[in-house]
């Protein structure tokens, strides 16, 4: 059994909004194995980003973690004080955000932002930090690192900024890297460069990665395991090979089919998932996906299915329970 770097158990992150209680992450459990990449897929509003922010302890009001455990290297992050979390954040768990344009501070140089974590966590002198910072810029393949070190974010292109974000995240050799849509804002040729880089660095440093994305193509390239989320819940959790060979949950299946692919017969209509994601104040009583599900039966409208084991993976659908046959 491989060592587990991160274990999330029954995580519940709720938002107490004026419109009512929003269960953004609703009883989510998963593990990340050491040195492996877990991909989390879902559409906007499915809770994938809030899951990662919960791990980092960055959920802001009106959001609150209402229950569950987040065990990182055996210790519960939810029991840590803010000061202790600050020691972990950036040193043991680092995060790369979606928008390299907005997540770098425009009034500090690249160098100042990279060395911040080194000065704080590694207690380096400024000179050591500068050397290490330049080394990191070299690692992420930024040309002329010595010059770039003293430049400001606006002087770099989008792809370069994302490289800087990666350099910042990796400078303290974190045990785990959380990437929240790291390539969504980038062009395809730059996306290919960045994914290549993340894969390469993962193999070199042995860092575990959590890759959050809406793009199944990205998942296929980087992930070992995949977790599909829908409306705050995990609907399918399997290895990457299993998911692409045979998606079992109707939502996963629908997602796979509705993406136009290069080798499709393009005279045909694209298959669609009808309707849209339910809003949190109007959740169906039973399975959250049931109003859009082509296979839904009566039971799906009545109650939420459990996450069950089926064919070596976990899936939340009545199709794989005894109740399905009894409910024709």
């Amino acid at each position: 059994m491989a060592e587990k770097i991160l274990q999330v158990k029954n995580l519940k992150t709720y938002f107490h909004t004026q419109a009512g209680l929003v269960k953004a992450v609703n009883d989510v459990s998963f593990d990340v194995e050491k040195g492996k990449t877990l991909g989390i897929v879902g559409e906007s509003g499915c809770g994938k980003s809030i899951t990662s922010l919960s791990i980092m302890g960055l959920v802001e009001k009106p959001g609150k973690i209402e229950g569950g455990e987040i065990l990182f290297a055996g210790e519960d992050l939810l029991k840590k004080t803010e000061d202790q979390m600050r020691q972990i954040r950036g040193k043991q768990i680092a995060m790369i955000f979606q928008e390299p344009m907005t997540s770098l501070n425009p009034v500090y140089t690249i160098g100042e932002q990279i060395t911040e974590a080194l000065l704080l966590h590694e207690h380096m002198t400024k000179r050591q930090a500068r050397e290490r910072g330049i080394e990191m810029l070299k690692l992420v393949k930024i040309p002329l690192p010595e010059r770039r070190f003293d430049e400001y974010p606006h002087q770099l292109s989008g792809g370069m900024r994302q490289r800087v974000m990666i350099a910042m995240a990796l400078c303290c050799n974190p045990e785990m890297l959380i990437c929240d849509e790291p390539t969504t804002a980038l062009d395809v040729t730059i996306q290919a460069q960045i994914l290549d880089l993340i894969n390469e660095l993962k193999n070199e440093t042995g860092t575990s990665v959590m890759m959050i994305t809406h793009d199944l193509g990205v998942i296929a390239e980087v992930a070992d395991d995949v977790m599909v989320m829908y409306a705050g819940k995990v609907v399918e959790h399997a290895t990457c090979d299993q998911i692409f060979e045979k998606p079992m949950h109707p939502y996963t299946d629908g997602l796979m089919k509705c993406i136009p692919k290069l080798d499709d017969d393009d005279t045909k209509e694209l298959s669609v998932i009808k309707g849209m994601v339910p809003s949190f104040d109007d959740m169906p009583k039973g399975c959250a996906f049931c109003p859009r599900c082509p296979q839904a039966r009566e039971i799906c409208k009545q109650k939420m299915p459990e996450l069950v084991e089926a064919e070596g993976r976990k899936v939340r659908c009545f199709k794989y329970t005894k109740e399905w046959e009894e409910n024709v």
């Binding site: 559409e43 136009p260 290069l262 694209l270």
Partner: protein
């Protein structure tokens, strides 16, 4: 338009150019120019979809907007149904524009938050004074709402009450309410979730079949382009680098940039056998484009000639146009 016959292309664009002034510093006397669109020519037939693909900054949106003169082109000729659209003005321009519409990328920013859905969709009808009475206008709006899959009972609602996919349907309704022959779709699905994206793509194709519109479909997503287009144009730094029939282009991509672009898309399949070409470096600044072939700084096939001599866009067989010194067929 009586003078146009069946053989006239719907749209002919010749040597379209759009330059934006750029000053290197506030006091600099000499102006430099950013060539956002440089010498682009193409024709578009009725009911045809021309897919325009390229990365950010390649000039695809500027090109789409210049064709409609939402951005005034610097030079070049735009013939619409045989008439010179580039020189039209006043009443004539307004009349011609009724026939050419645009769908924007961002369904959140492109709808006026203070107007109800009904008002948004009715606006083109009012500007064009299409109907004499408010009832007729309303009836047409309601009909259009139904066509794009919006429930007519939402007539008096405001855009913020809708999801992204539905807002894009409002944008589509606004574009088609006048029954145009040409619609420029500027990244109409890139802001949408994947499950919604396929709904909108199907709707666009359905509308094309029923209303007989031609599309200029701008996107950075090659899979989407392949799904919807008849012909495809690949742009890089304001230039057309390759243009061909869809089937031909995807079967025989000839320009190294197209090849790299095709290979870079992450495909939702495991253990893909496709060989990946990873381009080095970033897109050069259009204010200071490379000499010779604009792509030579990132090209994996570049030779000496590429940095000195600009390759022309030429036919390499069956109307497959490519701008490369070494593309197959030109050797």
């Amino acid at each position: 338009m009586s003078e146009a016959n069946d053989k006239t292309p719907l749209l002919e664009v010749k040597n379209l150019r759009k330059l934006f002034p750029a000053r290197s510093s506030f006091f600099a006397k000499e102006k430099s120019w950013i060539k956002a669109v440089d010498d682009v020519s193409f024709t578009l037939n009725p009911r045809e979809t021309l897919g325009v693909v390229g990365e950010s900054g390649c000039g695809k949106s500027t090109m789409g907007r210049s064709v409609l003169r939402l951005i005034e082109p610097t030079s070049g000729q735009i013939l619409y149904k045989g008439r010179d659209f580039g020189k039209a003005s006043g009443q004539e321009l307004r009349k011609m524009r009724a026939d050419m519409q645009i769908i924007f990328q961002d369904p959140y920013a492109s709808l006026n938050p203070r107007m109800t859905v009904g008002e948004v969709i009715a606006e083109p009808l009012n500007i064009q004074k299409r109907y004499k009475t408010a009832e007729e206008t309303r009836a047409q709006v309601l009909k259009t709402m139904e066509v794009v899959g919006l429930n007519p009972k939402y007539y008096n609602r405001y855009p913020h009450e809708f999801s992204g996919g539905q807002r894009q349907r409002i944008g589509i309704a606004r574009a088609i309410v006048l029954g145009p022959s040409l619609v420029v779709c500027d990244e109409p699905v890139s802001a949408l979730d994947v499950s919604i994206q396929s709904q909108v793509l199907n709707l666009l194709r359905e509308l094309q079949n029923s209303m007989g519109m031609a599309y200029i479909f701008i996107s950075h997503n090659l899979s989407v382009i392949k799904h919807i287009s008849d012909r495809v144009m690949v742009m890089y730094l304001g230039h057309v680098v390759e243009m061909a029939d869809k089937k031909e282009l995807f079967a025989n991509p000839s320009h190294p940039y197209t090849q790299a672009l095709l290979s870079a898309i992450p495909m939702p399949e495991r253990h893909s056998k496709r060989k990946k070409i990873i381009l080095q470096g970033d897109l050069p600044s259009p204010a200071n484009p490379p000499s010779g072939c604009i792509f030579h700084t990132r090209c994996f096939m570049a030779k000496d000639i590429c940095s000195t001599q600009k390759p022309e866009l030429r036919d390499i067989g069956n109307g497959h146009m490519c701008a490369c010194h070494f593309c197959d067929g030109c050797k």
